[in-house]
């Protein structure tokens, strides 16, 4: 049984880490970009960003003033048990979000869409989002917080099989062009592409592709992995860099996730996880051990399963 107090205290630590510490995989990606960048203005921007991450860690202050919209992904091993059940867990995550908003401090970004009511704590109707996943084995619980920023860089379109790969490329480029100008997407970014699913799941897949996979990871389908490489290069060949200035670094990495869709369609979404690619992860074990990491490791083979039943022994033998 995992104590609820441990869930809340771990969640508060995660809120703090996500807001302040840039994940190492993104940092490595950006350092590499800074070395290759030859646009004078975009070079200056990347150097300033690298200094900014240092300043955030030194001062323990949020790396960006727009601290995004905090949200939670919770993954449970099949045997995990939480003290007080899932209602208690949701209350703990909401409380941690509110406490950290005042504590770090974070910007109280969450308002009612019509009345603009702001509780000054990032909590409200449907906020923070809490989404769940499960894994076949284990008594642990993974808490993942993502503080995705930005109102730009995300788009959806219903494509069709006849649009093909060239249609996918075009919509990808359209999204980068539209939101890359003036740097509205706060690039260079981790671009996530969702292909398939129904409309809402298509958005979810793309968002998770950008936020729940690390720089350098590749889809387990080798042909999709090739597309990821190709799309990264394509995005970086536009000639646009940070802030929309002339440059060669727009895409730190491109992650693609797919889901089965309606036979007549090929829905597609594009998401940009920005220069403040904020995510933090902790695994809480049944014995109370807490392990922190920055890789959500969300897309396991169980999450990408295609079969009716999950038979791990047979899968392993293949």
């Amino acid at each position: 049984m995992i104590p609820i107090s441990l869930i809340q205290s771990t969640a508060e630590t995660l809120m703090d880490k996500a807001a302040i510490e840039i994940p190492q995989d993104y940092l490595d990606g950006l350092q590499h970009a800074a070395k290759t960048e030859d646009g004078d203005l975009s070079s200056f921007v990347l150097k300033a960003m690298l200094e900014n991450y240092e300043a955030a860690k030194e001062d323990r202050r949020a790396m960006c003033g727009d601290t995004g919209v905090p949200r939670w992904f919770v993954k449970l091993g099949n045997e995990a048990q939480v003290e007080g059940g899932m209602v208690a867990l949701e209350a703990a995550l909401r409380r941690a979000t509110a406490n950290a908003t005042n504590g770090v401090p974070l910007r109280p970004n969450r308002v009612h869409p019509l009345w603009r009511t702001d509780h000054d704590n990032n909590v409200g109707i449907g906020a923070p989002e809490i989404e769940y996943g499960f894994e076949p084995e284990g008594a642990w619980i993974d808490l993942i917080t993502v503080h995705k920023g930005g109102l730009f860089g995300t788009d959806y379109r219903m494509l069709f099989p006849s649009d093909g790969i060239q249609g996918i490329k075009r919509f990808y480029l359209d999204s980068l062009m539209a939101f890359g100008k003036r740097g509205l997407a706060c690039q260079p970014a981790i671009i996530g592409i969702g292909l398939g699913g129904s409309k809402d799941i298509c958005m979810t897949l793309g968002k998770r592709a950008s936020t729940l996979r690390v720089v350098g990871s590749r889809n387990s389908d080798p042909k999709i992995a090739e597309m990821e490489d190709e799309f990264k290069e394509l995005g970086n060949s536009i000639g646009m860099g940070a802030m929309g200035f002339v440059g060669k670094n727009m895409v730190i990495d491109c992650n693609i996730e797919v889901g089965y869709c309606h036979t007549g369609g090929m829905p597609m979404s594009v998401h940009a996880f920005c220069l403040s690619s904020r995510r933090a992860v902790a695994r809480i074990h049944a014995d109370g051990r807490v392990e922190h990491r920055t890789d959500p490791d969300w897309f396991t083979s169980y999450q990408r399963r295609e079969t009716v039943d999950w038979e791990p022994v047979r899968e392993a033998a293949q």
Binding site: R61, M63, R107, G183, M240
Partner: protein
């Protein structure tokens, strides 16, 4: 190109503004206030009295909501500060400038050269863009202190009017000049030369959308 670095007062002289060139890096000293849609609507549409002497106290309007809190004892803690996209505020800016004498509009992404020519240049104002846009921690270091926060009860912390004392706060990039030129449009034009090549082989979507432009050198703002 060598990048010039300049320190500028938040109540700058006309001469100091005239010397700025597109792409210069600026660090600010003096008082700066945040004002975005909440403040604009309250001051311009609801005609509430602006709780500062403008522009004598500050001629610098920051499109920003800080990551900050008001402590129980009334003191302030400001962590990171970064800007929000400015193009959305074009509706209010001409009247705001006329009313407050703002000379420095500080934000994200700049405005169009049309905005600059129509009301920035006649008001002797320029646009400074934040860098990145995520240099929130660096900008936070440039906040010497929070002087005051106004209208937080009416507008919430994010939309409130924060008055901050800047000490070499930056970096910011000069994104417009006294001729009404726009740094971002200059960069767009250079990138546009390559667009046709990047799109080569791709094809328009089978299902069209209303109002779709097929000119990728256009902007969507």
């Amino acid at each position: 190109m060598r990048i010039r670095e300049i320190r500028l007062s938040t109540t700058p002289t006309d001469e100091a503004i005239a010397e700025l060139r597109l792409g210069d890096i600026v660090y600010l000293d003096g008082l700066m206030y945040t004002a975005r849609e909440g403040v604009y609507m309250r001051a311009l549409e609801d005609k509430a009295n602006i709780p500062m002497e403008l522009p004598s106290q500050s001629a610098a309007n920051f499109h920003c909501s800080p990551a900050a809190r008001i402590n129980p004892d009334g003191s302030f803690d400001m962590g990171a500060v970064t800007a929000t996209a400015s193009f959305r505020f074009a509706k209010w800016l001409p009247e705001w400038m006329a009313k407050t004498g703002a000379k420095l509009i500080v934000g994200k992404g700049g405005m169009t050269s049309k905005d600059y020519k129509e009301y920035f240049v006649p008001n002797g104002a320029v646009y400074l863009s934040t860098v990145g846009y995520g240099t929130g921690a660096l900008l936070g270091r440039g906040v010497e202190k929070v002087e005051a926060v106004h209208w937080n009860e009416e507008l919430g912390l994010a939309q409130a009017m924060w008055v901050i004392k800047c000490n070499k706060m930056g970096p910011f990039i000069v994104a417009s000049d006294m001729q009404g030129n726009c740094l971002f449009e200059r960069e767009n034009a250079k990138i546009a030369e390559n667009v046709a090549r990047v799109y080569e082989g791709t094809k328009p979507a089978v299902l069209k959308r209303y109002g779709e432009s097929d000119d990728r050198t256009d902007e969507v703002i």
